[in-house]
Amino acid sequence: MGSREEQQESTQNTERKPMATRDAYGEALLELGKKRKEVVVLDADLSGSTKTAKFAKAFPERFYNIGISEQDLIGTAGGLSLTGKLPFASTFAVFETGRAWEQIRQTISYSSLNVKLVATHSGITVAEDGASHQAIEDVALMRVLPNMTVIVPADGIETKQVIEAIADFNGPVYVRLGRAKVPVVSPEGYKFEIGKAHKFYTGKDANIIAAGIMVSAALSAMEMLKKDGIDAGVINMSTIKPLDNDAVLEAAKASRLIVTAEEHSVIGGLGSAVAELLSENYPAPVKRIGVKDTFGCSGPSDELMKLYGLTAEDIVKAVKEGLKR
C-alpha cells in the first residue's frame, strides 16, 4: 500500500490536480497535432465542450466542423482516413455512439478504418442536462462491434497517455471521456498500454474491477473495507475491449468475490465483459455496480452518483453483501 500513500502525497503537486478527462484530451490533441501532421480533427458543433477547439485554434487547416450531423461526421472521418490522415472525431458520447452507431458499424468497424472516436460527456455526470445527454449505453454499443477497441480512461494523466497510444495504434478505437473533474488515480510513473489493466492491489477477500471515474470510488472503497478488516483489491480496467483476461482471472482466483464498477448501464459494459469471461472460464461470484437498466435524470453530479448507487459506499455495500453469500 506504499504506492497509495505516495500517490496521496503527490496529489499536492499541481500536475496531479483533479482534471476532467475531456480537458486532458484537449491538451493531448494539441500536443499530438504539433508532433504529427497527419492528425485531423472533426467535431459536430461541440468543439468548445469536447475541447477539440484548442486543436482547431492551433491548426485550423486540419480541423473540420461538420455541424450538427453525427452520421456525416463519422463518414467524413472515414473518408479522411482513406487518404492516410489520422482522424479524431469527437462529439458527446450519446450522439457519437447512438446517433451514428450504424455509420460506425458499416464504415468504420467493418472496414477497420484507422479512425479514433473520442467522445466526451459520457455517463450520468453530464448531470443537469439530464437523460437525453447522459450516455449510459455507449460502451455496450461500441463493445459489440468487431475490430473495435474500447478504452475508458480513469483520469487526466491516463487520458493523455491513451491519446498518444491510440495514435500509434492502427485501427478503430472508441475512447470514453467525461465532463466532470476527476481526481488523479494513476500512480507516479504509470504507463498505459492498450489491453493491459493496472492492478493497484490484489485483495484476498474481494477484488474490485473498475473503469473511468469509478476507479477513484473503488480506491476509496478499498480503504473503507480495510478498516472493517476486509482485504479488497482494485484493478483499473481502462481497456474494456480487448479485455485483460489474465488480470480478471488472476483477481478471481486470488479472492472470493469480484465486484465491477462503472458509470454505465450494468448491461453490456465492463460488468458484462467480466461476467462473460468468468462464467465461461472460472465461474466466480460477481456483483456489478452500475446504472441499473434505467435512464438518468437532471441534478448535480455528486447527488446523481448517490441516487444511482455509484459511490464508494455502494461498492463497500456490494462487497460486504457479496462476501456474505
Binding site: 485531423v40 487547416e61 486540419r62 473540420y64 461538420i66 455541424g67 450531423s69 452520421q71 456525416d72 463519422i74 463518414g75 467524413t76 472521418a77 472515414g78 473518408g79 479522411l80 482516413s81 482513406l82 487518404t83 492516410g84 490522415k85 482522424p87 450504424e102 455509420q103 458499424r105 458499416q106 464504415t107 467493418y110 472496414s111 477497420s112
Partner: protein, 280 residues
Amino acid sequence: MSQVSTSKDIAFLKGQAAVVRIEILKMLAQAGSGHTGGSLSAADIATALYFSKMRHNPKDPAWKERDRFILSKGHAAPLLYTVLALSGYFDRALLKTLRKIGSPLQGHPCSKLLPGVEISTGSLGQGLSIANGIALGLKMDNTNSRVYCMLGDGETQEGQVWEAAMTAAHYRLDNLCAIIDNNGLQIDGPCCDVMGLEPIPEKWKSFGWHVIDINGHEMEAILKALNEAEQIKGKPTMIVARTVKGKGVSAFEGKVQYHGVVPTQEELKKALEELGENGK
C-alpha cells in the same frame, strides 16, 4: 485524358458497356441472388468512368494519384465487380464466385477483401460522406485526384445524404463529382409512390451544387458531363443521370420486380442474345 471523345472512343465504350452487362447477368444467374435492375441501370456510367474518365491503375490499387470511385449504392456490387475485373484488378473467373462462401465478392462490396473497392458499402446513405472525407484529404495533399460517388435515387431518402450534401458545398469540394442513378424505382415500387424525390436537380442546386441533368445511357452525354464537372470550381457537381432500371434487357427494363431478382437460365439466354453475345 482527352477532353474530346472521338466517335471511335464512343463506339468502344458502347461495346464495353454491353460486355459489362453480359458479365453482370452471367454472374447474377450463377449466384442465384443479387441486384439486377440497379446494376444494369448504372452500367453505362460506370463503364465511362472505369474505361475512359478515371485515372487508375489496376496493377497498383493503392496508387496515391488515382481517382476514387465510391459505390454508395452498394447493392450494385455486380456492376462494380465487373468493371474492376474487366479493368484487370483481379481474375475475371472470380466473378463466378459472387455471394459464395469464402469469396471476396460479397453480396455488397467489402474493401477488406477485394482490391479496387475503396470502401465497404451496402447500408445506404453513407457513401457521399466518405467521398467528402476523401475529397478533403486529397485537397490537403494538393493532389489533382478526383472523387466520384454513385448514389441510387431511392438512396437519397436517407437523411445522411443531405448532411453530406451540405458538407460538400460548405467545404467547396470541386474535386468531387457525384452521380445519381435516377432509374425511378425502388424495392417497394416507383420512387414517386414510395417517397417522392423530385425535383431532384433543384434540390441539389439549392444545396449549392453544380447540377448537370443527363440521359444516363447516352455515352456522349455522360462523358461530356464528367468533363464539365472537372471544369467547375468552388463547388461540387451532381450529375443527375436519368436511367432505366434493368437497361439493356427488354424483359427487365422499367420493372420494379427486377430490383433484387436474378435472371432465370431462359431469361439469361434471351438477354445475352439481345446484348449481342452469340454463345461466347
